[in-house]
Homo-oligomer: 319 residues x 2
């Protein structure tokens, strides 16, 4: 699957970072899912190749404005750009009430069905290649994490067996691997005799605001990548006295404790500047986390795209 | 006064044009007013030198989302950036209801007072240098135009009289013009004997969506500049069968009929491209209007800034 960051700032947008939104796209095809939809998400999407017509569902982590105020405009624009297929919204109940109030007070006409699922009652949902689960976090308002599990079939050709029969690499191998039976020198070669299928799955957990990463211990089991907020460094978190958010070290400790292979931090307080020499730099968040966590650590910027490939390897890709 | 365009696209944003918002700033000082607040207005403001702390009032023309969906995020960000002073919102009643519903459903905390005025009942309001009036337009929902009248004192020094007394140009002239009395070669020169004050006023009308420009005949009397939507050219308007909007020629005819000196068109359908050679180009809107209207015609782009100076001259300025 692909994870594309559309906004990585906490609370308010900056010139370099918009407020929260993350697009998760299936490995095959064009189906994608949007986790959170801060104001300006539809504008950010104009700079990607994602189409609102291929959007399968919107998942909102919590009701705070920097995670949902782009929803009304995005729903309106999807309608104006011709969307007719129903759209699923998985979100806290307050979001459904807010969208309904917005439809009423601003005469918002949506020319396709909205299917709301209250996350409070969600067990799991299957959509396309994904199985999606949710779990509760700890924040000033109810906040949730979403887990995307993508199951894919991996096909292996028994090349040793083919070689032992004197069939060397070439078009026959390709046809057999693609599931075709082949007539070979008067012999019928059945694909199923040479091909093995393995089900592989990749798992990504994408979180809303959360002050207790350890709540995710079970939910992140066997997970390939965790996307978690790191609003502050520890010193600034203590000074800010902010309740409900995590600092880099806290998330890093949790990631280390569960031997997580890939950690992507996001949702940075606007006080952290990109200049490494700044008195309050995003590099301080990186340093605090990397001193504790020795897996692969990434700090997301807007429009960063990460590909989670079959063997669970995460790599940064071009947009 | 200054008129700064923060969004010039109709309905949906494009990569070059955001949805509607216009900042109107007093000639002196930093006080400014926001007419409409489409989604992403706060992000556009980050690219200007306008501060949310100096925002005096927000005026919404009508309840459609492309004119108001940025309101909740902007109010939230003003609070997070430390605003404490009350903020006036002049808008159709539905906007007040929507903001209240948003506060409720998304736990939006605003740490300063909001003073709502329903535009339906507005006669006039004075704020800083401006006197503001509203009038009803014709659209699919109730829509309004706002008129900003700025009164300024212009001071003229009677230089002929000074010269006739043998007082030539120099520091004495400057002091007298600034209202200071001056001891000059044993004589007391009183500022009031050499200075005349004239009250000058400039008027700008900024409109919401409107299919009947002629409704503005009285309201635009003696007005220096009209900012009006021109969503379409006439041919496309006829094809689109859209109700509630104006095409360029219609606005141009009205502007010509009232001998308006300056007309700024905005709110262009996203189908109009900036390339003059495109099959559907913004230049077609310009051509249609300029064939009818011979005053000074401008087509607004995002971040265009227009200065209306004392003698009613409008000039395009740097942002």
């Amino acid at each position: 699957m692909d994870i594309l960051f559309l906004g990585t700032s906490a609370g308010v947008p900056t010139r370099k970072r918009n407020v929260s939104a993350i697009a998760v796209t299936e490995s095959q095809g064009r189906n994608w899912f949007l986790v959170d939809c801060g104001e300006g998400t539809q504008q950010q999407l104009l700079r990607t190749n994602l189409s609102l017509n291929n959007l399968q569902a919107i998942l909102i982590t919590h009701i705070h404005g920097d995670h949902c105020y782009g929803l009304a405009g995005l729903l309106a624009s999807a309608g104006m750009s011709g969307r007719k297929t129903p759209l699923t919204i998985i979100a806290p109940k307050g979001i459904r009430e807010w969208v309904e109030a917005t439809q009423q007070h601003t005469q918002l006409y949506i020319p396709y069905e909205l299917h709301f699922t209250d996350v409070e009652t969600l067990t799991s949902v299957n959509s396309g290649l994904f199985e999606i689960h949710a779990t509760a976090l700890s924040h000033r308002v109810p906040s949730y994490a979403y887990r995307f599990t993508e199951k894919m079939t991996k096909t292996t050709l028994d090349t040793d067996k083919l070689k032992s029969l004197g069939i060397s690499a070439g078009p026959v191998w390709g046809k057999l691997k693609q599931g075709q039976d082949v007539d070979y020198e008067g012999q019928k070669l059945l694909s199923c005799d040479f091909v093995q299928e393995h089900i592989q799955q990749t798992k990504a957990v994408v979180c809303g605001d959360n002050e207790q990463p350890q709540l995710l211990s079970q939910f992140c089991r066997d997970c390939d990548v965790l996307v978690h907020e790191a609003t502050y460094t520890q010193d600034i978190a203590a000074k800010a006295g902010d309740v409900g958010h995590s600092y880099a070290g806290l998330v890093a400790e949790f990631a280390a404790s569960i031997h997580l292979p890939n950690l992507i931090l996001t949702h940075f307080s606007p006080r952290y500047q990109s200049d490494p020499q700044a008195p309050c730099s995003i590099e301080h968040i990186r340093q605090e986390a990397s001193a504790i966590y020795s897996g692969r650590l990434y700090l997301a910027d807007d429009f960063d795209r990460y590909q989670l490939i079959k063997d669970g390897e995460l790599r940064k890709a071009d947009v």
